[in-house]
């Protein structure tokens, strides 16, 4: 039997993959029950994670290959996007995925480093990923490895001073192997980033000596192009302009859905909306 | 005191308002300044005390207006004729 996806273009296949991942985010978040889940910050990140894994040289089950590219999810509350996209790319098996956010799981609300599942980094405490990425990049240089390092952060996360210590170091050490992707969804826990801690990302990262590329963070081809762009020798910052809660209209750009709990009618409505676009 | 009266009293205590300030037909969560997330839990506690019940968290969340509250309380054998 021919897999229907094989008859589609790569882009159509990736778009379908992202759409399946988005459905899984909703399903797993809802199955977590009790105290709710981080829907908004995962839904804004689905295309970003899809584009990165479509480009990164990381094969499932080779978490010990030193040459592999490293994908570091620094904004741990985007965990459901990481898990579902890793699942789509064959890193996380079906049965493990279904345990996400359940008691004692390997896939809790914030990721635990688990190289067998393709999870490179324990996260949840913000501002930890970029410095680690600088270390990985320096190590790669010392070992003459050609690997790339992707560090995914939230826009709110860049409030943390440690991000800027690492940003300064990456420029100082000339680490062109680092690509930071900022999920610029314009919201953080307490509200709009412009109200809580406003910041001009494009000017800020450029000011720290980084190459800055701004893209539509829900366009997989645009993200891929930014990742594939010819190296400049400087660390690269991709500003992915996204919508928090993307794909579920009552969640889109609504701060309360940073972390929340769906009632059954809300779940049904969200489910229908996600499935309404394209048949599975 | 009827259940309806007891429920109204619980709302007034929890919200910290007098009964004559409230339009029961339109009263809803965040509909008036006093009914915010803090007052919501005070109202829940007052209702629990008044009817000697313990509400599930789903019901606490679903308690969005006066009418909905009455419907939810049926589950706890609190009847409103």
């Amino acid at each position: 039997m021919i897999d229907a996806d094989e008859q589609l273009s790569d882009q159509q296949a990736l778009a379908r993959l992202a759409s399946r991942a988005r459905c899984s985010v909703l399903r797993l978040g809802h199955a977590a029950g009790g105290t709710g889940a981080h829907y908004g910050p995962a839904l804004s990140l689905v295309e970003v994670m899809t584009a990165i894994y479509s480009m990164a040289r990381v094969a499932p089950g080779v978490g010990t290959d030193l040459e592999r590219d490293r994908v570091i999810l620094s904004k741990g509350h985007g965990s459901l996007a990481l898990y579902t996209v890793l699942h789509e790319f064959g890193h996380i098996p079906d049965d493990v995925l279904e345990t996400a956010e359940l008691d004692g799981t390997r896939l809790p609300g914030q990721p635990i480093c688990d190289r067998e599942l393709g999870i490179e980094f324990s996260s949840g405490s913000l501002g930890m990923g970029l410095g680690y990425g600088v270390g990985l990049a320096l190590s790669a240089r010392m070992m003459q490895s050609g690997r790339r390092i992707f560090v995914v952060m939230g826009d709110g996360e860049t409030n943390e001073g440690s991000v800027w210590e690492a940003a300064m170091a990456a420029t100082h050490f000339g680490l062109g192997s680092i690509t930071a992707v900022i999920d610029v969804n314009d919201l953080q826990s307490d509200g709009a980033t412009s109200d809580i801690m406003s910041f001009d990302h494009a000017a800020g990262w450029a000011g720290f000596g980084w190459e800055v590329i701004e893209v539509d963070g829900h366009s997989i081809p645009a993200l891929q192009a930014a990742i594939a762009q010819k190296p400049s020798g400087r660390p690269r910052c991709i500003l992915a302009r996204t919508v928090k809660g993307k794909g579920i209209s009552f969640m889109e750009a609504v701060p309360e859905w940073h972390h929340g709990r769906l009632t059954e009618p809300q779940y049904a409505e969200a489910h229908d909306e996600l499935r309404g676009g394209e048949p599975r | 005191m009827t259940n309806e009266e007891a429920l109204k009293k619980a709302f007034c205590e929890g919200l910290g308002v007098n009964e004559d300030e409230i339009d029961w037909g339109t009263l809803q969560y965040r509909g008036i300044e006093q009914w915010d997330s803090v007052a919501h839990m005070q109202v829940v506690a007052e209702i629990e005390d008044a009817f000697d019940i313990m509400m599930d968290i789903d019901d606490v969340i679903a308690m969005s207006d006066f009418k909905a509250t009455k419907e939810i309380l049926q589950k706890y054998d609190v009847r409103f004729p």
Binding site: A32, G34, T35, A37, G76, E101, L102, D103, G104, T105, P108, G109, Q110, I112, S122, S123, G124, S125, L126, G127, G156, E157, N159, E160, G161, Q188, S189, D190, I196, M197 | G14, D36, S37, V38, M41, Q42, V44, A45, E46, E48, D49, V60
Partner: protein, 330 residues
């Protein structure tokens, strides 16, 4: 003095909601009280505060070190800042800032650690705070409070608004933290509350584990054991007289805390008792020295043996072992 709100209502709000409610009450009484937060105003229950006193709620973004630094600068001019963020970030990420500004410079800031212990459930280990008391206890000049139920959270906040000492307020316990009847005693910073006395064993609890201590005591009493309960809501300065008072009056001492068994309440009590001749044996119950598996609040507590029944069983077994050992040596 404000009237205390309905204890059940506070319990429904949980420690975070209670903190926000209490801070609003404190702000109404004292115009110098300000709230400072690192993008957690809503999570810390400060929504109502933000609506009522928008100019007195300062949000510094997700930047916990800066949170403590900014709060200290405000304190210099006589403001009474309450700086709230998750307990692990407050105590550990900002540790040296607390040491410098609150300990060394003695700026009167109340750093409020919300979601201490396992309260953040599925958020996982990065949001669990199991080492915060240990990380802060050696800092001079710092008071450490750990209220045992929501009413006590309320009392602690009001007391701090008029207390000159820099403080770390540890808020453990999940939403619907159980109330403990302490109506026979009063809340005073630095004074332990003796809820009951027992000749066989005394359980010293703090924070969320006060209700567990009380629950375990009830179970043990039904098994014929005479159990006392002491609430140490002030871990530093520890009420040394109350701890020394246990010597000779109770057969054994147990501490219970939702914190690592290293460096917290148990260690503080051990430091007093180990210096005294004739001290009763001490058992420290808390989180073992490892990161537990992540899950819901109740799941993790159970895993660590921190429920009424599991604590009762552990205390009961320990006492019987001690009695057998004592009988064997005589």
């Amino acid at each position: 003095m404000t009237n205390l709100p309905n204890p059940r209502g506070l319990s429904r709000l949980g420690p975070r909601g209670t903190f926000g409610t209490a801070l609003l009450a404190a702000a109404e009484l004292n115009p110098r009280v300000v709230g400072v937060t690192a993008d957690l105003a809503i999570t810390a229950g400060l929504e109502r505060f933000r609506v009522k006193y928008p100019e007195r709620l300062l949000n510094v973004g997700i930047a916990e070190q800066n949170l403590v630094g900014i709060a200290a600068g405000l304190a210099e001019d006589g403001w009474q800042p309450f700086a709230a963020t998750f307990a692990n970030f407050a105590a550990m990420r900002s540790n040296e800032f607390v040491r410098h500004h609150l300990g060394y410079m003695r700026q009167k800031v109340s750093v409020v650690g919300i979601g201490a212990g396992f309260a953040m459930g599925q958020f996982g280990t990065t949001h669990y705070s199991l080492e915060d008391v240990s990380a802060l206890r050696a800092i001079p000049n710092l008071t450490i409070l750990s209220p045992g139920d929501c009413t006590e959270v309320f009392q602690a906040v009001l007391a701090l608004a008029n207390d000159p000492q820099p403080c770390y307020l540890r808020l453990s316990g999940a939403p619907s933290m159980r109330p403990v009847d302490q109506s026979d005693t009063s809340f005073q910073i630095g004074r332990a509350r003796v809820l009951s006395t027992g000749s066989d064993v005394t359980i010293v609890g703090t924070g969320s584990m006060l209700s567990v201590a009380a629950g375990a005591a009830g179970i043990l009493q039904e098994r014929g054991i005479s159990v006392g309960v002491v609430n140490v809501h002030t871990i530093k300065p520890l009420d040394e007289d109350a701890i020394r008072g246990l010597i000779g009056s109770t057969g054994a001492v147990v501490t219970v805390e939702e914190h690592s068994i290293l460096g917290g309440l148990g260690a503080a009590v051990a430091e007093i008792l180990s210096a005294e001749a004739g001290s009763p044996p001490l058992r420290r119950i808390g989180v073992p020295d490892r990161f537990p598996k992540v899950g819901s609040y109740d799941f993790v507590l159970k895993q660590c043996g921190l429920t009424d029944l599991l604590v009762a069983d552990e205390v009961g077994d320990w006492i019987s072992r001690h009695r057998r050992a004592a009988a064997a040596t005589t």
